[in-house]
Symmetry: C2
């Protein structure tokens, strides 16, 4: 894409009321627009990052046998009353409104209840199990505070998956494969090394639930990390009996700040029973379906990636989630030789399928490089005088700052195999 | 995809309170789930149709130079007050709620105001123009009545695009290219022959706006069609002076029922002025940006396609928007020769990239055919005794009922080129 056509542009300053580093950088680089505290719109560059993250998550969920759907945002009061989660005392983040036609609706802050209610239409026999269903949904939460940028919004995108299985054993097998899939997601999106499976409370339903916590000073959570085991516990379960069970000693744990990028939960049969999701087993008995739920905060993950990778100059995207793979920066003006060379390389890269942001604007080299650093595309190709005369291109890796000089042939070979 | 794995299944009956034929069929075939009146969730088959429609629309919008973004659902009161559209007297479909942190938010029923407000961040000079921005957004509208299925929901997906141009002339050129792109969208999604550019009132802003109206008895609109000119007018502009201007005579018009699948609108500089979206022209004067808006109801279009194509047996999808291209129906049971043949053909079709729904379930032929008719995939390949013994496959075209007998080679050749 030609940067001269992109309607966004880099800004020197983020809005004064924006306290979170992730949102400050994303706003300055033109990825997001702040609508109000905790509410952001996603501009072309930002939407591309979201779609890259979603594509990775979708691949992993599909590989688990997940089937993608999209539930409604508007939700029925009656469904949530069945599990006693309609009242504002029980759930303090509801947005609700009166229907013009009478009655009240809720705006989806979660979808466990509506999805499970819907599944009563499709599951009645053991022959209908298992079923794994997921969606990418915009969740709305009436949070009192929202000061972590896109890491905790009043509006955010979440992937939520639900597993409907026969029994504990079938659930456990799927749950374990979901853990493996989640770890792959975080690995592929570039935060694998800093993300740890974390034991948390299972509430009324089961002994443990699990979180995926990414180490970050910007995190709102504190977890206790056993680096060697690559496991953590949160403060709900920081007890000697739990540590003994997990084979950990208190003095082996580090207290660290972290962001919860995913969580998985075993509801057993409780919620299904409340919502009437029962099936007839082989003996003809009516049994509640075993429910598991599996969330990944998509926009939160984007914020976490920013927090863990960015440097003083700006964003640094891991290649798999970058909006573009190459930032082609022309230092030419008008129709000179440099511009002609840049146009030719741009056409060739696009031809072989490389995603290129092409800075074809008439602007100083210093300003272009500063913006390019801020935008954070993995590789920058500089087309300057050398490129036009001797055919040598400078390639700068954003993360390391490493500079290489490549011929046009070497350049195309490098990026067409990426 | 194996139908045995699909968690949805065909139902004999739609919910008793569902009056619209499009929703009745889509619910019975397992494409959508009714959450409440005017609110539907989209199941795997339904989501595939939506994504196909979106892909076509996205291609056409990108070709116009459109840049995709996604705005927030939560909207600021202050923005809508600037154009005097916050009060329920002015806009009667608002959903609003109180913020826990204080103040009120609106839920996006439209995005003209927030997008235009946002563009003040990016447009200040004539050098920043033009900009064309679009999104696929879930709109929420507090409709008093909702009885047209997915054709008029309280929650629905819309593609809305906004053009920001220098002046009337630049606007007009883009507006005309948008009309052409819209007509291509309706052609490609299979309702081109029944969809007509329709003159409507331009309100306070301009002489005319334009609608795209698809003829359907299920339509809530009445328009007056000049078949020969392939143009219509709606009742707002059914006046002799307008007809004279368009070169039409009253007695050449047919009164027909129709559904508005798209609309385009010229706001001139009015809304930009209200929202402070001004630019400095070459002479240094501050001038309001010329705004156009361009909508296509994505889920409505899906409903209209159903209304215009379905027959007594069920849905009939145009190939370009069908959830799958081929419905492979095996009449085999267990591991017999028929099953082996079907499995082989399934693997081969998937290998060459054909989108196949494979009915591998153990069920009577009659039931499978009835469900296949209901689901409405363009081509059905039947794998029965003949296929296993003589290698002859029956291929049935869903729309026409036309039956062909093809060898395995001919079969693969046919569909791998589709």
């Amino acid at each position: 894409m030609r940067q001269s056509k992109l309607f966004t542009r880099a800004r020197r300053e983020a809005p004064a009321d924006e306290m979170a580093r992730n949102a400050q950088l994303l706003i300055r680089a033109g990825y997001v627009h702040k609508e109000m505290a905790g509410v952001y719109s996603y501009l072309p560059l930002g939407l591309r990052v979201i779609e890259k993250i979603k594509a990775i998550v979708r691949e992993e969920m599909d590989a688990l046998g997940g089937q993608e759907i999209i539930m409604s945002t508007l939700q029925r009061k009656e469904v949530w009353e069945q599990t006693d989660r309609w009242s504002d005392e029980k759930v303090d983040v509801w947005f609700k409104a009166k229907l013009a036609a009478g009655g009240e609706v809720g705006f989806g802050w979660s979808h466990e209840e509506p999805i499970t209610d819907m599944m009563t239409q499709f599951i009645s026999s053991y022959r209908d199990l298992p079923a794994y269903v997921y969606q990418f949904q915009t969740k709305l939460r009436n949070e009192l505070r929202a000061k972590s940028g896109i890491m905790r919004g009043r509006e955010f995108v979440m992937k939520d998956m639900y597993s409907y299985t026969l029994d504990e054993a079938a659930h456990k097998a799927f749950y374990d494969s979901a853990i493996a899939a989640y770890l792959r997601v975080f690995e592929r999106t570039g935060v694998g090394d800093q993300t740890f499976l974390t034991f948390a409370s299972g509430g009324a339903f089961t002994e443990f639930s699990h979180e995926f916590q990414t180490l970050s000073d910007a995190g709102e959570d504190t977890v206790y990390l056993h680096r060697e085991k690559k496991l953590a516990v949160n403060d709900e379960v920081l007890r000697d009996d739990v540590l003994a069970k997990l084979g950990m000693k208190r003095d082996e744990l580090e207290e660290v700040k972290a962001v919860e990028v995913g969580n998985i939960f075993d509801f057993g049969g409780v919620k299904s029973q409340q919502l009437g999701l029962m099936y007839k087993n082989a003996a003809g008995e009516s049994v509640p379906v075993h429910l598991g739920s599996y969330g990944i905060g998509i926009t939160r993950l984007m914020g976490v990636i920013v927090e863990t990778t960015a440097d003083d100059k700006g964003l640094i995207w891991p290649a798999a989630v970058a909006p573009f793979f190459v930032h082609l920066v022309s230092l030419g003006k008008g129709s000179d030789e440099i511009t002609k060379t840049a146009e030719g390389v741009y056409a060739e890269l696009v031809e072989v399928g490389v995603e290129v942001l092409y800075d074809d604007r008439d602007m100083s080299a210093g300003q272009k490089f500063a913006e390019s650093d801020l935008i954070g595309i993995p590789s920058r190709i500089i087309v300057g005088k050398d490129a036009a005369t001797t055919g040598t291109f400078e390639v700068v890796e954003r993360a390391s700052g490493k500079v290489e000089k490549l011929s046009r042939e070497a350049l195309l070979a490098r990026f067409s195999h990426a």
